[in-house]
């Protein structure tokens, strides 16, 4: 397998000279094509910041991030939008759907931004909606459907353009456990059947147990790394809990 994403010694500071927050303090790791990577850590450990840096939504203070050997920290401001729409897919905790568009249009939106031909858009939209089980609600507006359905719509939007990597920030954060499980199964399918590379930030061990590899962050540093390998999910889940116990502090919050 090829290395898709390479994060090389990145740091991210917030604040001024007198009061610096080291949100990320020297993180390096690699993601291979087809992996489903989880990033775990307590609240405030730097997960979102890391994801935003990879997503080119935020700039690193130092270090480099390579996607397919291209240094994305060096991309010029005017080329960033193009890079994002061609390479990245997003799933956010609060869905980030547009209230004014129907579910179908929300999915199609990313394709129109990528200037795909109109016929192709329609075909792809319906195809992905079927795969994610939301073809019945295509003509509804976001406020008319449940959170789980919204998040599936967001997932459809993230994958419909076949991005190199899908970035998900606490996608199950606003969902009940049943919807969360449904979503995770879908993401697993996206990863296994559609060969999507996914990088998911979460602080929920159940969500993390769907991943193939997990990085644990603490105070902006990588604290630990585990891989699922051929293990059962249940077993992997227990392993995650063990690491979290080691991480200490707010494991109660995590469960």
């Amino acid at each position: 397998m090829e290395t898709l994403l390479k994060v090389d010694q990145i740091q991210k500071y917030y604040g001024n000279k007198d009061n610096i927050t080291k949100a990320i303090d020297g993180i390096s790791f690699e993601v291979e094509e087809g992996e489903f990577i989880g990033i775990m850590g307590a609240s405030g450990s730097g997960k979102t910041t890391l994801l935003n840096c990879i997503a080119t939504i935020d700039n690193v203070s130092s270090g480099h991030i390579y996607l397919n050997k291209r240094d994305i920290t060096e991309i010029k401001e005017k080329d960033i939008a193009k890079f994002r729409r061609e390479n990245l897919g997003f799933i956010f905790q609060d869905f980030n759907l547009l209230d004014t568009l129907t579910i179908e249009e929300n999915i199609a939106l990313i394709l129109t931004i990528n200037k795909i031909s109109e016929k192709e858009i329609d075909k792809k939209t319906i195809e992905i909606a079927k795969k994610l089980g939301i073809e019945d609600i295509l003509n509804k507006y976001p406020y008319q459907v449940s959170g789980g359905q919204k998040q599936r719509c967001a997932s459809a939007r993230a994958i419909v353009n076949s991005p190199k990597i899908i970035l998900a920030d606490e996608p199950t954060g606003a969902l009940d456990s049943k919807s969360a499980r449904q979503l995770l199964e879908i993401m697993e399918e996206m990863n296994k059947k559609m060969k999507a590379t996914i990088l998911m930030v979460t602080h929920d061990p159940l969500s993390a147990s769907y991943c193939s590899k997990i990085l644990f962050l603490k105070d902006g540093k990588i604290f630990n790394k585990i891989e699922r390998g051929e293990k059962e999910r249940k077993q992997f889940y227990n392993e995650i809990l063990d690491v979290l116990a080691l991480l200490g502090g707010d494991t109660r919050d995590v469960r």
């Binding site: 939504i57 939008a81 759907l97 939106l109 990313i110 394709l111 931004i113 109109e118 858009i121």
Partner: protein
């Protein structure tokens, strides 16, 4: 407790409240400054010659109150919608609807009172500017200073608080009626479900076209009636048809566009159409109403402004036609010495000429005017006659060539606008019976020598000098109207051309030269003979300079008021569009943020913002242009006897230019601010 909560929340929404506050304060300022003008002595002194002045003022006051009421109503409802989620949350926390309504009322009362005070302050300032502009227009000295009319404050307070309380009361009712769910989700809800119910939007669209065209056709017919001095009963229905037509048109066109762009996937997915149209249609009901009201306002401004300009042109043309020379004097006395002395002393004479106008029995030419606005001439029973020598001299004074006549020939000189009619008549009956002689009409001239009732009513017959003696005896001076109507005799005329135009004081001095004769009049009232004396002016003095300045000042004040009103209209509606766009920009910011995260180019985002704002500002203009132009043309037909079509078109251009300027400034400002709001912290 409630008060504290409410103040804290008001602070949090300060940005929206500032817009709201400014709108209300500006409304108060506009209303107050106008009321101040209405009660100001400076202004009313100026307008003594304007008999309908108070009528105009009242009319405009009413219009301003309506606009302000609309603006306040709109902004308050807007604030209510903005805070609906917060109010919903309160309700979930267990607050009574009544308490929430009280919070809202309290906040608004505080804001209303503050805005009123600030608005009055602003209004004092605005009034000073307006007054000095008006005084400047009339060349009157005016000292800017703080004048403050309690009457105007009182009036403004009454108007404002009545409106304010009514609107507030309406909002309270709304709060009490609305369900929690609707409050919580008001912001997220889209209004486009309505569209789906309108299956027959094509029918609505066609109906609107029928109504508008029908209204125009009827109006056109009514103008014919007005021209023919008949009663025009269908003007109001025609206007109502136009108004309903405009509303339906906008209802129809929005759903038409939505259908066209959103029901067809290949169109929808093209470029960034989808996002843009959904943005626009998510508020379709609000939008339709705002747009059609805006459109109606613009139509009013457009048509009103055009009519004002048309009448100005007409007045100017009328003056030009009535006054080929600076001074016109008519007398039944051939002694003009007093006048001449005065004129020579007070003005620089270029040319001066004395002559006579003779009256003869109606020759039938008047019948030529049967189909014109001047048809009543036919009943006068006399025609006016000028000798060839006098006519040629007058022609020379206005810069035209001499003409010649055979002994049996005459020429008819007419007002430009009726020349065609007289020519048509002369083609049919080519000869006239004058003093028992058969005279041939040699031709029709239209030299402007004062054909509006000075040298004949709309036309005069020019005869060879030899014929004059047969027409009139030396002693047949016309002494009064009855003698003239009998169609014989003559009267003395003096016309003077001066180097420069004269003033009103000059005119007053000239009037004092007139002979005023005391005459005994005997009348039989209830079988009793009563004799009394009246002062009769047998002479007539008219001066172009004085008339011009009177007309000017009347026109200036009317057009100033009209302009003021139009400006308020444009500003009110443009403010409204701007408010709607800008205070929604937070919502839009969220949407555009998502687009940017998804990888849309900044350039494309800016283009979309421009398109969106352009749509809001441009759509309301469509109908006013398409209806305003034909309406102006129709209205101008009532005055076409005094104005050319080129002038009408020029007027349309001027009105349109001013309008575009003010509106354009608003548009650009809105776009820049909107872009800035979106850009903020992105």
């Amino acid at each position: 407790m409630l008060g504290k909560l409410s103040i804290r929340n008001a602070k949090r929404q300060a940005k929206d409240y500032i817009i709201y506050f400014i709108t209300v304060a500006i409304s108060v300022a506009l209303m107050f400054s106008f009321n101040s003008i209405a009660v100001s002595e400076d202004i009313s002194d100026l307008s003594t010659m304007l008999k309908d002045f108070s009528k105009y003022i009242t009319g405009i006051s009413v219009a301003i109150i309506l606009i302000m009421a609309w603006l306040i109503n709109y902004t308050m409802k807007f604030m209510l919608e903005k805070r609906s989620k917060e109010f919903g949350t309160y309700q979930i926390l267990g607050l009574e609807k009544k308490d929430i309504a009280n919070i809202f009322t309290l906040e608004n009362m505080v804001i209303g009172i503050l805005a009123f005070v600030i608005g009055i302050g602003l209004g004092v300032f605005l009034y000073q500017i307006l007054t000095s502009i008006i005084m400047n227009l009339f060349n009157q000295p005016y000292q800017i200073g703080i004048t403050f009319s309690l009457e105007a404050v009182g009036k403004t307070a009454v108007f404002f608080f009545i409106t304010f309380i009514l609107v507030l009361w309406n909002c309270r009712r709304k709060i009490k009626k609305t369900k929690v769910y609707d409050l919580l989700y008001a912001e997220k809800k889209n209004e486009n479900n309505i569209i789906k119910n309108i299956k027959g939007n094509a029918i609505i669209f066609i109906l609107s076209l029928i109504l508008m065209i029908g209204g125009l056709v009827i109006a056109n017919g009514e103008v014919d009636k007005i021209n023919a001095n008949e009663k025009a009963d269908y003007i109001v229905p025609a206007i109502i048809m136009l108004i309903i037509g405009v509303f339906l048109f906008y209802k129809g066109i929005t759903s038409f566009l939505v259908k066209r762009y959103l029901d067809n996937k290949s169109r929808k997915y093209k470029k960034n159409n989808m996002f843009l149209y959904r943005n626009l249609t998510s508020k379709i009901n609000t939008m339709t109403i705002t747009i059609s009201i805006t459109a109606l306002m613009f139509m009013l401004i457009f048509i009103g402004g055009n009519i004002a300009l048309l009448y100005n042109n007409m007045l100017n043309n009328e003056i030009e036609m009535s006054f080929p020379f600076e001074i016109l004097i008519q007398s039944n006395d051939d002694d003009f010495t007093k006048y001449k002395e005065y004129i020579e002393e007070n003005a620089q004479v270029k040319n001066m000429y004395e002559y006579r106008i003779y009256y003869i029995n109606n020759t039938g030419i008047a019948n030529a005017l049967k189909d014109t606005n001047f048809r009543n001439v036919a009943s006068y029973g006399y025609d006016s006659v000028l000798s060839l020598t006098d006519y040629n001299k007058l022609r020379e004074m206005v810069g035209a060539d001499k003409i010649e006549l055979q002994d049996n020939e005459v020429v008819v000189n007419t007002l430009k606008t009726v020349k065609g009619n007289v020519e048509e008549y002369a083609n049919k009956s080519n000869s006239l019976q004058i003093a028992d002689r058969n005279m041939k009409i040699k031709g029709i001239e239209d030299e402007n020598i004062g054909q509006v009732s000075f040298n004949g009513d709309y036309y005069a017959i020019i005869v060879p000098d030899s014929l004059i003696e047969e027409i009139s005896k030396e002693d047949e001076i016309v002494r009064n109207e009855n003698e003239r109507l009998s169609g014989k005799g003559y009267i003395y005329k003096l016309v003077v051309e001066t180097e420069e135009t004269t003033s009103e004081e000059f005119y007053e001095g000239l009037e004092d030269c007139m002979d005023k004769e005391e005459r005994q009049v005997t009348e039989v009232v209830n079988g009793e003979e009563i004799t009394y004396t009246i002062e009769v002016e047998d002479e007539r003095v008219e001066v172009k300079g004085a008339r011009t300045s009177q007309t000017r000042s009347m026109y200036t004040i009317v057009s100033f008021l009209a302009f003021y009103l139009a400006l308020i209209f444009v500003m009110a509606t443009a403010t409204l569009l701007a408010i709607q766009q800008l205070s929604d920009s937070e919502k839009y910011k969220y949407r555009y943020d998502i687009l940017q995260k998804l990888g849309m180019d900044k350039k494309d985002i800016n283009k979309m913002i421009l398109k969106q704002i352009l749509f809001y500002f441009a759509i309301p203009m469509i109908i006013p242009i398409f209806i305003g132009i034909p309406t102006t043309l129709i209205v101008s037909r009532t005055v076409l006897s005094a104005i050319t079509i080129e002038e009408v078109i020029r007027n349309i251009g001027i009105i349109f230019g001013i309008f575009i300027l003010v509106y354009g400034i608003y548009f650009i400002a809105t776009y820049i601010q909107f872009d800035r709001n979106i850009e903020e912290k992105r």
